[in-house]
C-alpha cells in the first residue's frame, strides 16, 4: 500500500491547498485544521513551511495508545480509524511523536488516511504517494 510522503516541502508556498482539500474531500469540512495534513510556518514565515502529517509508523504508537480499538494498524504503516469506536480521549494525539493528529474542539481526532487526495492540489508538487518502505529494521540491544 502506498503512503503519503512530503519529499519536497522546501518548495511549499504556504497556500494550505492540501489541508483545505483534505478537509473538503475527506472530512466534508471547510477547515485548515480538521485535516490529515496541516501546514505550519517553521519558525516564522521567513524560514518556510512544514507539513504536519502521519509518517505511517509501523507499529503506530497512536494505535497502541488507543484504549477502545478505534485506531488499528494499517498494513504497511499508518492507522485505520473507526470514529464510531472513538471516545474522544485524545490519547492518540498525545502518543504521536510528530504532532500529526489534530484534535478539534470536541477532541475528535483527524489523521491522514493515506488516500492521496491532497496530492494533486499542491501547486509545487511537494507531496507524493510512495511505496511504503515496509517494516523498518531495528537494531536490537543497546542501553535503551
Amino acid at each position: 500500500m502506498k503512503i503519503l510522503t512530503t519529499p519536497r516541502m522546501e518548495r511549499c508556498i504556504g497556500c494550505h491547498s492540501c489541508a483545505l482539500a483534505c478537509a473538503r474531500l475527506v472530512h466534508k469540512n471547510l477547515s485548515w485544521g480538521t485535516a490529515g495534513i496541516r501546514i505550519h510556518s517553521s519558525g516564522g514565515l521567513s524560514t518556510g513551511f512544514e507539513a504536519k502529517t502521519c509518517l505511517a509508523c509501523d507499529p503506530a504508537p497512536c494505535a497502541e495508545a488507543c484504549p477502545t480499538g478505534a485506531y488499528s494498524q494499517r498494513k504497511d504503516g499508518g492507522v485505520i480509524v473507526k470514529k464510531d469506536l472513538c471516545i474522544r480521549c485524545g490519547k492518540c494525539a498525545e502518543a504521536c511523536p510528530v504532532d500529526a493528529i489534530y484534535l478539534d474542539a470536541s477532541t475528535e481526532p483527524f489523521v491522514c488516511i493515506h488516500c492521496g487526495r491532497c496530492v494533486p492540489f499542491c501547486p509545487h508538487d511537494c507531496l507524493e504517494m510512495a511505496d511504503a518502505p515496509g517494516k523498518r529494521s531495528v537494531l536490537k540491544g543497546g542501553a535503551a
Binding site: 497556500c15 471547510l30 492540489f121
Partner: protein, 581 residues
Amino acid sequence: MIRDHFRVLGVNLTTGRGNMEIVEGRDTVAGGSGLAALLFERHGHPDKPWDDPDQPLIFAIGPLTGYFPLMSKTVCAFKSPYHDQYAESHGGGRSALALRFADYDALVVTGRAQSPSVIAFGSHHLGIIDASYLWGKDIFETGKMLRGLSKGSGHRSILRIGPAGELGSAYAEINVDTYRHFGRLGGGTVMGSKNLKAIVIRGDAAFPLPESKDYQKLFQEVYTKLTDTDMMSKYHDIGTPINMAALNALKMLPIRNLQLTTDQGIDAITGERFADETLLRNAACAGCPVGCIHIGFVRERFAKEHRYIYRQVSYDHEPIFAVGSMLSVMDPFAILAIIDVSEKMGLDVMSAGVALAWATEATEKGVLSESETLVRLSFGDVEAYKDAMEHLGRGTNDFYRLLTQGTLRAAEHYGGKEYACVLGQEMAGYATGEVYFASQALGLRHSHLDSGGYSYDQKETGADVSKAVGFLVKDEQGRGLLTSMVACLFARGVYTDELLTRCLKSIGYGSLAENLGPVSRNIQELRWRMRLGTGFIPEDVTIPKRFYEVSTAKGAVDADFLGGVMREYAKAIRRLSAGAQ
C-alpha cells in the same frame, strides 16, 4: 460559516471589553467592501476626526472567503489620517482565512487602550494583552516577539505596526504576516492612535460543507481554471513586476519623479531581472494556489571580515516603481534594500518612495537642502535613500514629520507642488495617461485597482469623455463586487459575474446570487456615500502640473480630455452617492 447575516466581533479598547454583534444585510451588501461600508455607516462618526477614539477600525471578509480559491483577501476600512475621510485598504496573507476560521465576518475595533496593547482572538477566545514592551519596536522585532504570544503557527494571522504607525504617519501600513500589507492611506496610524500594536487572529474553527455535490464539482472546476490554464501565469511566473518592461516600452512608466516615462536603465530592473537575480522563493496567501508573492533577498556585509546578514524582502511592481524607477535606483538589490527599510519602519512603500522622489527633485531645484533632509538626496543614491526612509519612518525632524503627512502637505509648506506626484494619494506605478490619472485622483481608494483606467489608456484611442467615464463607473462596480466576496483582484478574469453567481448558489447564498446586479450597485453607492459623507469633494480635486507634462507612446497628455474626464467622473460620483445613477 454560511449564514444569512453577519457575525461581527466588536472590541472596545477603552473599556477592554468585546461584544458580539449580529448584523443583517447579507443580501444587500454581501460582505467585504460592502460590509465594511455598512459597518462604518453604523459605527463611524463622519463629523469627528480620524483619531477620535470612537472611530472604528474595520476588517471584513466575504461570503466566499475560504470556500473558493483566491477568495483570500480582507478589506480594512477606517477614517484615514491621510485625508480624514472614509478609506479602504486591502490585504491578504492569512488574514482572510484566519478571520473565517475564527468564525467572524468582521472585526470592529473602537476606543483607545490605556497602554500599548495586542488584541488576540479566535473562535473560542478573546483577550486584550498589555504590550508596552513592543512599543517602538520595528516590524521585524515585533513579529518575532509576537510569535511566542499565541499558539497556532500557520493557522493564525499577525497584523502589526511599526514606528511609522506609532508616530502618526499618514501613510503607515499594517503589516500582515510579514510579506503582505494593508498598505495605503494610513491604517497603521489608526492602529497606533488606538494604542494597538498588533492583532493576532487564530483560525481554529471548522465548518460543515454543503452536502450537495455541486460545491465539490464547482470547486474543482474553479481550481482547475486558476491553475491549469495560463490565466494566472503572469502572477505565478515573473509576477507583477513584469509590468516594468512593458510600461517602459510604452513610455508609460513613472521614472525620476515622473520627469521621464521611459529609460534604457529600466532594463536592469525589469521583473525578469528580479526573477533571475534576486528571487529566493515564492509564497502565497492562504487559500491561493497561485503564490504570487515573490521574495528576494538582501545581503549586507557588516564587518571588514566576510560577515554578512541577509533578509528576505517581498517585491512587486509597485514597490519597484516607487523606490526603483521613481528614485532612479537601477539595481535590483539596491531596490530591495530600500524596500527592506520601509518594511522595517512600517511605511507604505509606494507613498514613501514617491514622497522621497519629490524631495529629491525639490533638492535638485534648491527648494530643500540637507538642513531639512539630513542626508543629501540625489537620484540613484541608494545609501541616502535608506537613511531617508528610516528618517521618514521615525519622524526624525520637522521636515520628515511633515513629509510623512503626505507629499502635497510638504510641498504646500516648502514649495514644489507642481511636481508632487499625487493623485488623491501618492501615485501608483502607471503613467498611462488621462483616464488613469483621473481614475486614481477620484477613485474611492485612490488606488490603481479601483478601476482599470491604466488598461483603458493602453487599449483605447480617442478622447471620448463619456465612454471613458462610463468604463470607469462600470469597472469600479464590478471590482467592488469582487472585493465584497472577497476575491483577490488578480482573479478578476476568472470570477465573472456568472461564475460568482454559481459559487454563491453552490454554498447556499441563492438569494444573494440572484441579485448581484442590484447588490453591486448598492455596494457602489454605499461606499461613495461613506466617502462623500466624510468630506470628499470630487470637484475640488486637482491634478499637479507634472501629470500634464507626461508624454507616452500615445503622445502628450491631452489636458482637455483629462479635464473632461475629471469633470464628468466627479458628476458620476455625485450621482452614485445620491443613488441616482
